[in-house]
Amino acid sequence: MILGQSRGGSHEATLTALPGIDTSSDCYNFVNNAWFCPAYLSDYRSELLVETWEHIWITVVSVLLGALMAYPLALLARRSPTVAAAVLGGSTILYTIPSLAMFSLMLIPPLPGISPWSVVIGLALYTLTILVRNMVAGLEAVPEEVRDAARGLGYGRLKLLLRIETPLAMPVIIAGLRVATVSTVALLTVGSILGYGGLGNLIRLGVQNDFRAQVLTASVLCVVLAVACDLVLLGVQRLVLPWQRG
């Protein structure tokens, strides 16, 4: 038994339901281990729903946490080229760390250890490299005349940042959020090393049990989820930035 899988619940249920034990299906049993199996979708509906939900909430929380960390870092980076180099360099180094190692390093106290929060922290750190970069680029692309006009209208530094610069940087920031979200959905599967990999948990169990229908279904759902998240963010962009349309 692997440490990360000792949390019971739906995972235990999946573990015992080996292909072959369920005789009601004709595409996964002792003799037939098909990749495509519609019966899998209905038989494993509850497992798929549980893991898809885990996948969604960990993705959303990770990207939000990443954005919350990236924004102040981007503001710091704007202050001086030295700070910018340190922030961008630091986030690039973090991005270099392989996900399996990143999640495993979360066992070091006081980090959360075997917990979904370890996956969240790791994924949030990965989003920094793209989010900080795009936030800095978006803020710096605001034309100087616009800033001057706002200052002329009596905007202070904070109001200028929140009311003028950040909204104008939004297209670039949302582009970064889309890239970060799509790669977060994919990377999250590796969280299965800690037992919190969303659909990756099903892929992991599928490989252990040589259960093809489960592996393919979970993999396809990951890609569908990534595309869906991308489209949702595209929709958000259209909604909050109507002037960008067309």
Binding site: L3, I93, I97, S104, P109, G200, I203
Partner: protein, 243 residues
């Protein structure tokens, strides 16, 4: 868990020796990384250079990176090893060697192709026109003008590919495949936390060394110092994605 135990694990020679030791896994994973990045460069660079030179296939060259980002490396590793490629031993590449190599190759291609293509397309059109005016044609234009100017971004692509492949190779262990990830998965299987952390530290340290080494190469091939190239410092980068 204390750091002394991690240090003890790392400094014990017995943990480095033998076919299940960190030494063998390290060599195996470096070999996997090198083989697949070289193979991806051999396959991808000519295609990307040709597309970039003739200025076609931009959507393909860029979208391959978007697709590569959305597909979990873990899923591809599993699908290939459960599929026709199987989990057979492949010489020094170990169990599931072929499935692992093919997965790594697939994930090395997007950054290599996209960056080489973008590098060639970003060569100043006025420079290309000037070279044409001087009588340069096809191959000569490519060799003496486009290639040298695109080289830094090509190396960027290789750097991203190396980082991506190293990370993906680590995950192969989750599929009972080769590489250093085995140190981590074996540590989890035996509830040996110091081993998990020691393995993770080693994997992360080599990743950072590879990244820094490739960054040095990147600097070395830049024809113009990076800070004088417009917009380089803050240009939104689209990384290859950690596996």
């Amino acid at each position: 868990m204390d750091f002394a135990a991690v240090w003890d694990y790392l400094s014990d020679g017995a943990n480095w020796s033998g076919s299940q030791g960190m030494g063998a896994y390290l060599v195996q994973q470096l070999l996997l990384t090198l083989t697949s990045v070289v193979a991806a460069a051999v396959v991808g660079l000519p295609v990307a250079c040709w597309l970039g030179h003739i200025g076609r296939g931009g959507a393909l060259a860029v979208n391959i990176s978007n697709v590569g980002r959305a597909v979990p490396t873990f899923a591809v590793l599993v699908l290939l090893s459960l599929g026709p490629l199987g989990v057979g031993e492949l010489g020094p590449y170990g169990r599931a060697g072929l499935a692992t190599l093919v997965s790594l190759l697939l994930f090395a291609l997007p950054p290599i192709v996209t960056n080489a293509y973008v590098g060639l397309r970003e060569v100043d059109r006025e420079i290309v026109d000037a070279a044409r005016g001087m009588g340069m044609r096809g191959g000569q234009l490519f060799r003496s003008v486009e290639l040298p100017l695109a080289l830094p971004l090509m190396v960027t692509g290789l750097r991203l590919a190396v980082v991506q492949v190293w990370a993906t190779a680590t995950i192969a262990a989750l599929v009972a495949g080769p590489g250093l990830g085995n140190v981590v998965t074996e540590g989890f299987a035996s509830s040996n936390t110091p081993q998990v952390i020691a393995g993770a530290l080693l994997i992360a340290a080599v990743a950072v060394v590879l990244e820094l080494a490739m960054a040095v190469v990147e600097k070395a091939v830049a024809p113009v110092p990076a800070d004088t190239r417009t917009g380089r410092a803050t240009r939104p980068e689209t990384p290859g994605g950690t596996g």
